[in-house]
């Protein structure tokens, strides 16, 4: 029996396993209980219009903390693996000069992309956005800076400062919820944070604050991963 047949057999086996799932699926008309509960009570309990945000930050806030930790671990392991010795630095990464249009347009585009990332995570409770998405957009701005300037180097001090500070603030806000209110870790009803009218930018208590720091943390982590990849490329 050749390798090809084995592969085909395993793929077919997976297809057979998931075919009953596919067959029994019929699009539903009504929500399940948990989803219905979030739809009915989510806005009153958290103040956030975007229910996905309220699930991610408040109802399942602890999971999000774990998720950020996993991302942080991945970033640290990558920078540990690909760390390179400082003495053999290459002269330049590029063979040809970067086109003039890209270097010019980057000066306008990168601040605007950063602004858009900030818009995404500040409005995480109103629009389909949030910390993770905004962090990814910020990291894409960093990619543009790497591409337009072959000698661009990320300042690791700034990255580490932003990352650790926002992580600490995230945990502190969660602890403040546990201490000041009824003992819920990462509750969003903390005195001092704005509870404006639902739908305005300052509403939903601690959710926008948490999402802002989450966005900064994710953006810093992803930029760190990118920076490590690019620097390990320029080795030898």
């Amino acid at each position: 029996m050749g390798k090809k047949t084995m592969i085909a057999l395993i793929t077919l086996a997976l297809a057979f396993v998931i075919y009953p799932l596919y067959q029994s699926y019929n699009g539903s008309e009504t929500l399940k209980d948990v989803g219905q509960y979030y739809i009915d009570n989510g806005v009153e309990e958290t103040g956030a219009q975007n229910l996905v945000t309220s699930v991610v930050v408040t109802y399942r806030g602890l999971d999000t903390l774990g998720e950020v930790t996993i991302l942080f671990l991945a970033a640290s392991v990558i920078s540990f693996f690909l760390s390179f010795s400082k003495n053999d630095r290459i002269k330049s990464r590029s063979i040809r000069s970067v086109t003039e249009i890209l270097t010019t347009s980057t000066q306008v585009l990168v601040p605007m992309i950063f602004m858009f990332g900030v818009y995404i995570f500040v409005n995480g409770h109103l629009t389909p956005g949030g910390g993770f998405q905004g962090g990814a957009v910020i990291a894409s701005g960093i990619i543009l800076m790497f591409l337009s300037n072959p000698r661009f180097k990320l300042s690791h001090k700034v990255i580490q400062f932003v990352e650790s500070t926002s992580g600490i603030v995230f945990v502190l806000i969660g602890a403040a919820g546990a201490l000041m209110m009824d003992g819920d870790f990462l509750s969003n009803k903390i005195p001092g944070f704005g509870f404006g009218e639902v739908g305005s930018i300052i509403s939903a208590g601690a959710i926008p604050v948490i999402y802002t720091f989450l966005g900064l943390k994710v953006g810093a982590e992803l930029s760190n991963v990118l920076g490590v990849f690019v620097e390990s490329q320029s080795e030898k």
Binding site: R93, I95, R96, L102, F116, T127, S140, I143
Partner: protein, 86 residues
């Protein structure tokens, strides 16, 4: 009436995606594929806009802007990957 026009626009753009997909499969060069992806991502932005119009929800436009940013950066990254340093 307007809904019929919007559905027509949706159908025509979807045919556009299919035709561009033929060029993506045929190649023959890598850059041909990149251009096909560029055109497909522009059509995708328009499709998201059409969806927002049909559902009457403004917030979907944010998704379209994010897609525009990621498409732009993706094209530049892949062309840099081909040229090994621009």
């Amino acid at each position: 009436m307007v809904d019929i026009l919007i559905y027509t626009a949706m159908a025509i753009s979807s045919i556009g995606v299919l035709v561009a997909l033929v060029r993506f499969v045929k190649g023959p060069e890598k850059v041909d594929r990149i251009v096909a992806v560029d055109v497909i991502s522009t059509i995708g932005i328009t499709l998201i806009l059409i969806l927002a119009t049909l559902m009457r929800r403004e917030i979907y436009i944010d998704v379209a802007i994010v897609y525009a940013i990621l498409g732009f950066i993706g094209v530049i990254v892949v062309s840099r990957f081909i040229k090994r340093g621009m």
